[in-house]
Symmetry: C2
Subunit: 422 residues, 2 copies
Amino acid sequence: MEKTEKIQADMQALGRAARAAARIVAKADTAVKNHALIAMARAIRCHEASLLAANAADVAQARNKGLEPAMIDRLTLTPKGIASMAAGLEQIAALSDPIGAVTDLDYRPSGIQVGRMRVPLGVIAIIYEARPNVTADAAGLCLKAGNAAILRGGSEAIQSNQAIAACVQEGLRSAGLPEHAVQVVETTDRAAVGELITMSEYVDMVVPRGGKGLIERIANEARVPVIKHLDGVCHVYVDLSADLEKAVRVADNAKTQRYGTCNTMETLLVHAGIAERFLPRICKILLEKGVELRGDEAARALVAGIKPAVEEDWYAEYLAPVLSVRIVEDIDQAITHIATYGSQHTDAIVTEDYSRARQFLREVDSSSVMINASTRFADGFEYGLGAEIGISTDKLHARGPVGLEGLTSQKFIVLGDGHIRE
Amino acid sequence: MEKTEKIQADMQALGRAARAAARIVAKADTAVKNHALIAMARAIRCHEASLLAANAADVAQARNKGLEPAMIDRLTLTPKGIASMAAGLEQIAALSDPIGAVTDLDYRPSGIQVGRMRVPLGVIAIIYEARPNVTADAAGLCLKAGNAAILRGGSEAIQSNQAIAACVQEGLRSAGLPEHAVQVVETTDRAAVGELITMSEYVDMVVPRGGKGLIERIANEARVPVIKHLDGVCHVYVDLSADLEKAVRVADNAKTQRYGTCNTMETLLVHAGIAERFLPRICKILLEKGVELRGDEAARALVAGIKPAVEEDWYAEYLAPVLSVRIVEDIDQAITHIATYGSQHTDAIVTEDYSRARQFLREVDSSSVMINASTRFADGFEYGLGAEIGISTDKLHARGPVGLEGLTSQKFIVLGDGHIRE
């Protein structure tokens, strides 16, 4: 009980400090924010040795605890990883400043001018796994968008995160910005997260990044708006009028370019009229690459080596060399399948037919809808956002890859000359 | 217990029907949606007599229950009110269709084109007081933005709302759209609201409109995103460099054009250097109009008839002929006062000074920030949004007056020609 109260008090203090810092960062000039970002990058490069030492301590503890190799891999910082963290901050400095941009400033019949000005959100909390590079990334994006950040990374990375935070704060200081503009939660107690996501007076948005369990827990318990990304059950639908070469290229890339990412294809839908020509070709490639195929009866009748799919397969985000395959009668059945089993993340059609391309684009309700392109393109860098804090499968505020703009809001501005309402 | 289960089951059925209807409305052509809106308007005009009869029954019951005159006033439908409901729907038909609009479609270095397409949110629940005109308004806006609507008006208006809903559904039918695209909750049991705001699988957004108590309750209990409007503690700051005539005109209008609206000025901030010239003039006008003034000591020293203000006055949304008045030393003190006591709704500066105007516009963190214009302009119609479903004091998704655009989202679209990620 006493311990919980202490954590609550600590988090409240953190929140108050973030709110105060946010007011200052919100009005900081573009040049000042860029100065801070470049100074952070410099500090990270200068302190490479101490970053590696802090990280080595984290990794040693993680190994003792018997963490999975994949998690240790994400936790480990290398000189190359440190250089790319620093370069990432410099890239953020090079992005144009979204804050203060005025759009749609029009005269109204009353004589006033009405427009919108892009403004920071305020204080953003990022909750993530033991991936130290996220610390620098998230800090940089939040700062450029004029926000204060509260960062809570996985407890296994606590020493790495604090070392990176020290570099970040060195950068803030050198630009004359408050150190509390970026704070790393020091306690690894889970109660801190519970407090963080309910302090609506101090936190304006929470971005959880990590496994589905973490995200579901935060979405359920938060009293603060959450930008979240749950599943990536992505589909490629190969239409009757698909160009076979393009279909093979896109489906292969969507599945095998990387298996563990959220924009990887998990289900391949194939029009019955093209299945006989297309399916043997793509399946041969995928089987040779070691992808396990699970299909409906129609698919299994066409290709040997496809295992039977069960109902759960259509819902599955494998994140692995496994693919479910289904033959559909027409585009409507494909769209219905995507609406029923998909996760509204990224879905693509391969077709040369104009009307069906148009229909798919309009009717599929996903954060990214593609024609003749690999689902793997669903990414902030590929979309030209410069960087991304995550991918949102929500519909409100930000949908799809979330870049700087997703960390901002817009206010209305009204310019008059003594105008009054009649 | 049995009753609660019945209500839950009813609401779930309503939700399922809304979700199914939303899929159809989402892909409806602009012409079909406009046909429905115009047919709704026609039905409302044709059924004037039965609308008035249903409303008279509601009003009679409300009188028996001893409802306040102001509430009975809002509940009462007149032939003029019915005509303006119908005209409102026709105006919504005349607005351009936001759905399907593609913006920012650019080629990326990879060769793909990336853009954004505006899409419906899905199912929107509107919870409001006993104001029957909101039923037609909300139905029309949701439909035009391609959404299904679940409407839950105050129980005192239940017969009026059902009569209006019948006209709305007549319009939907005549356009070949599903009747469940607009549903009015039939039970007046409060448990229905509890269910409605937690059915996240069927409801994409909740818009509560009404008193602060209702909105706070919904915001606290909702498991679905809420677009809400809490307080309107609006300020006018009269700067040292204000034009006296403009300052008097704007302050008078902001306070007295209507007392009960959320964009009415509640606190007047005056620069110490102009107070002696400005305050006696504006106070004379306000006192003559019967406005009660509550001020700090400096203001009271300048004008007789100002009562002493207490700390609570600076936080107060009077919604009445009461105004708090404070003298400030400079613009920074004014901005700090607004940040401390305001509600981030609408705040205005009156000044002829370029730099201070620029500073106020950038630094005041409210949904509408104005220069030399009355706060009363903060309104969807005045801003050119065509119509508004409400005013949001939140920062995420929609901020300020919420029109059709606030009832939509954007998805990314990607056009390729067999492009894959390298």
